[in-house]
């Protein structure tokens, strides 16, 4: 029971990093959520093999890697054509940026408020309602290219805003 409580705590803490890793390969929110669920179930079953004190999210990502390879064909439909090498390199990159996830979430919440109303709408349509670029373009009566540029700019502004926040926190 104790191990299950620990597991749930660790799972909640590391969710973003593992989900991000799966999303990075699949580029499909729904598929990533399904796979993440499968990974969590497998991890729960194998929790006894997890060594306390080692990196939980790296352990989860290893399970995710195997799950992704299992679903390779499905994952490659919209996502990247995956193989071991790519997954391992991506894993190393995730490992480097691990500690930032939770902190960034809070910064992102604040940064979202600084976006223009139009950019906020687009972000909401894209991420909350999982709308495709062409659907957003149809909805707001703009060209797909313009929507894509606007979304890229919005994300870029958010990134800059978050970087400023991190810089402020570390210098303060």
């Amino acid at each position: 029971m104790e191990s299950k409580d620990t597991f749930i705590k660790l799972l909640l803490k590391n969710r973003s990093s593992v989900f991000g890793y799966i999303l990075g390969v699949t580029n499909d929110f729904h598929l990533a959520e399904d796979l993440f669920q499968e990974v969590s179930i497998t991890a729960c079953r194998k929790i006894d093999s997890f060594e306390q004190g080692t990196n939980f999210s790296a352990w989860m990502r290893e399970i995710a890697r195997l799950k992704i390879l299992e679903h390779r064909r499905k994952a490659a439909q919209n996502g990247l054509p995956v193989d071991n090498e790519l997954l391992e390199k991506m894993n190393s990159s995730f490992l480097r940026s691990e500690s930032l996830w939770e902190h960034e979430k809070e910064l992102l919440r604040n940064c979202l408020k600084t976006l223009t109303a139009r950019a906020q709408d687009m972000i909401r349509m894209k991420y909350e309602h999982s709308m495709l670029i062409k659907e957003i373009a149809r909805k707001i009566g703009q060209a797909e290219g313009a929507v894509q540029v606007a979304l890229s700019r919005a994300r870029s502004s958010l990134r800059q805003c978050m970087d400023r926040g991190i810089e402020k926190d570390t210098s303060g």
């Binding site: 991000g20 054509p81 090498e85 390199k89 960034e104 109303a117 309602h129 890229s152 958010l158």
Partner: protein, 619 residues
């Protein structure tokens, strides 16, 4: 990371990247850790946005929809709070919105100016319509291409289907007459021309001079007057600088002047010609060596040669020219390359790209040329003379000693090789021109077997040979893949090989002795009308002895010449019988089949003295 890569990642994230673009992205991610880090950073934001959005969907309103999209299924919760305060809000909103527009425009100007510093903007005027120029745009006769302002160092790259191309500096303009004729109006353009059957010509309109080339790299720069007033900004001369090869310049009404690499020629509007010496690119050659030593990885699947050429050129920063004379009637777009390379020197990677395309590589002046053996007899050879290969050679040999277990049932040969590739991290290359479709599929299962030995078995079963060279394992059916070394190195290699062979033979003898011991172990099996392959697989798994079946043991050819499974079935019921005896009982049930111990395995085969059923029935 450049803006093109950034755009590619954004396109992928937004789900609008094509299959080719996704493959390009994978190649970039594998080969450049900085791009991978940037990608992960973007994915992190992408993922966090999704997470926050779904979390907030039920609780809060971190975002509210603008009035023009209010018919969205999720109605903003605080709309009713806004209504009572609408009058006050409209006033504030107008002022606030004005400020926002101002800030937005200012931000956009900053973004634009950043982009300009990297590369000038370019448009292509085609059929009277002005379109933005993208990396994929191929110029057609009648097109005009213009670039806007820039910092001066950035270039807009344009490529023809035949492999030639040019990079346009800021404020430049050219008109495409056809694949071999360009009219240059203004600016600075760097041409990389692949050797063609017909000359490539650039006519510099302002000075009425024509530049003629066969295949080389050169820069044309239209020179403007300085001064003030009306005379400022008029093109009075053009400067032609040859980076490699030879170029002929013909001012209007004058005789052609031929200039070599490292030379510039100034031509004025009046037809006056002045030759200027520039830096001779000795330094450039060592610079090229440095670029070609860079370690790279990639994975191309059926990628057009022109795309591979562009990728290699970008990643190494070298000029790569595909010689169209070596392609016959084909164009670089018509030749597809499938090649996966795991961390190797760019020079070797280029060698393999060329080999997969049926070409050879050589360096001329400051560029890598992919051409034919006949045109460039001094091309890079399959086996290098340099001694530095010993390091990676050792590395590959060490990797090939890894233990491997697999069970291939009728697996196509190329898939077995890609399995080896993924398992070992070694680059495996199936040679150009091999017809894989008419090869036997591989049926082979091994337990904890040395990878090199397993590969040897697979190659033997499919009539191939392999060699380790240029940081890869080349699998081929060509007879000469092991030759091509200079004498001294060959002698040295032979001595080493003899030593290795002696060690290998001793090891093999020991392995064979172990197998002989294992054959004394007793087994109990009971099969009725079972498939031949299935019985041997069961026996292998049960006993732990590696059993290799020659293709003719399980397959025959029918009258139409197609390969089909043998009809014979195995019926056996033995209890506590030695494995050796069991093998004898089984093989007696299959006509002409026998077995022996070889290379640490039991090899089941049809002796050469018997007719091979795969050939016999075909006749």
């Amino acid at each position: 990371m450049n803006s093109e890569t950034e755009q590619l990642i954004d396109k992928y994230i937004d789900g609008t990247a094509s299959k080719d673009e996704r493959q390009t992205l994978v190649r970039m991610l594998k080969s450049d850790p900085d791009i991978m880090d940037a990608y992960v950073e973007k994915i992190r934001l992408h993922s966090l946005l999704r997470e926050i959005s779904t979390e907030d969907q039920e609780e809060t309103d971190f975002l509210s929809l603008a009035p023009d999209v209010r018919n969205d299924p999720v109605e903003p919760k605080f709309v009713h709070y806004i209504k009572p305060a609408a009058a006050v809000f409209v006033l504030c909103f107008t002022v606030f919105f004005g400020i926002l527009i101002y800030l937005y425009k200012a931000d956009r100007d900053i973004q634009d100016s950043k982009r300009i510093r990297e590369k000038p903007k370019a448009v292509i005027v085609r059929d009277g319509r002005s379109l933005p120029l993208t990396g994929d745009t191929r110029p057609k006769p009648g097109d005009t291409i213009r670039t806007g302002q820039g910092s001066g160092s950035g270039e807009v790259r344009v490529s023809f289907a035949n492999g030639s191309g040019f990079g346009m500096g800021p404020e430049s303009e050219i008109a495409v007459m056809d694949e071999n004729r360009i009219n240059m109006m203004r600016g600075r353009v760097r041409f990389s021309i692949t050797p063609q059957k017909t000359d490539f010509k650039v006519h510099i309109v302002s000075v009425q001079a024509t530049v003629r080339v066969v295949g080389t790299e050169f820069v044309i720069e239209c020179l403007l007057t300085k001064g003030n007033g009306m005379k400022k900004g008029i093109i009075t001369a053009a400067l032609i600088t040859v980076l490699s090869g030879t170029v002929g310049v013909m001012p209007a009404g004058e005789r052609e002047v031929v200039i070599q690499a490292g030379t510039s020629l100034k031509v004025t509007a009046e037809g006056k010609v002045t030759e200027l010496k520039t830096e001779v690119p000795d330094k450039a050659v060592s610079e090229l060596d440095k670029k070609l030593s860079k370690k790279i990885s990639f994975d191309f699947v059926e990628a057009p040669l022109s795309q591979v050429q562009g990728f290699m050129s970008n990643i190494t920063g070298t000029n790569i020219i595909v010689d169209s004379r070596a392609l016959g009637d084909k164009k670089p777009d018509d030749i597809n390359v499938t090649l996966r390379v795991n961390i190797m020197k760019a020079e070797n990677a280029l060698f393999w790209v060329a080999r997969k395309a049926g070409l050879v590589c050589t360096v001329k002046e400051n560029a890598v040329i992919m051409s034919s053996e006949k045109l460039y007899p001094d091309h890079w050879k399959l086996h290098q003379k340099s001694e530095e290969e010993t390091e990676w050679h050792k590395d590959i040999r060490a990797k090939m000693k890894k233990k491997i277990s697999f069970d291939f049932q009728e697996m196509p040969f190329n898939e077995t090789i890609s399995y080896f590739n993924q398992f070992s991290g070694v680059t495996f290359i199936i040679d150009h021109g091999i017809d894989l479709e008419n090869r036997n599929n591989v049926t082979l299962g091994v337990n904890d077997f040395n990878m090199g030995s397993a590969l040897k078995w697979i190659c033997r079963l499919a009539d191939f040979d392999y060699t380790i060279t240029r940081e890869a394992v080349l699998v081929s059916d060509k007879k000469d893949i092991k030759g091509g070394l200079d004498k001294k190195l060959e002698e040295k290699r032979n001595v080493m090989q003899a030593k290795r062979d002696a060690v290998r033979r001793a090891k093999e003898a020991e392995m064979n002795r172990q197998v002989e011991e294992m054959l004394k172990n007793n087994v109990s099996i009971n099969f009725e009308n079972a498939d031949i392959g299935f019985v041997f697989t069961a026996l292998r798994k049960m006993s732990g002895v590696n059993i290799v079946l020659a293709p003719a043991v399980v397959n025959v050819r029918n009258k139409e010449g197609q390969i089909i499974h043998r009809k014979e079935r195995i019926t056996i019921n033995v209890n506590n019988t030695s494995l050796k005896e069991t093998l004898n009982i089984i093989t007696k049930q299959i006509p002409d089949v026998t077995w022996k111990i070889k290379n640490g395995a039991v090899y089941v085969f049809i002796p050469k003295t018997k007719h091979d059923p795969l050939k016999r029935l075909k006749r």
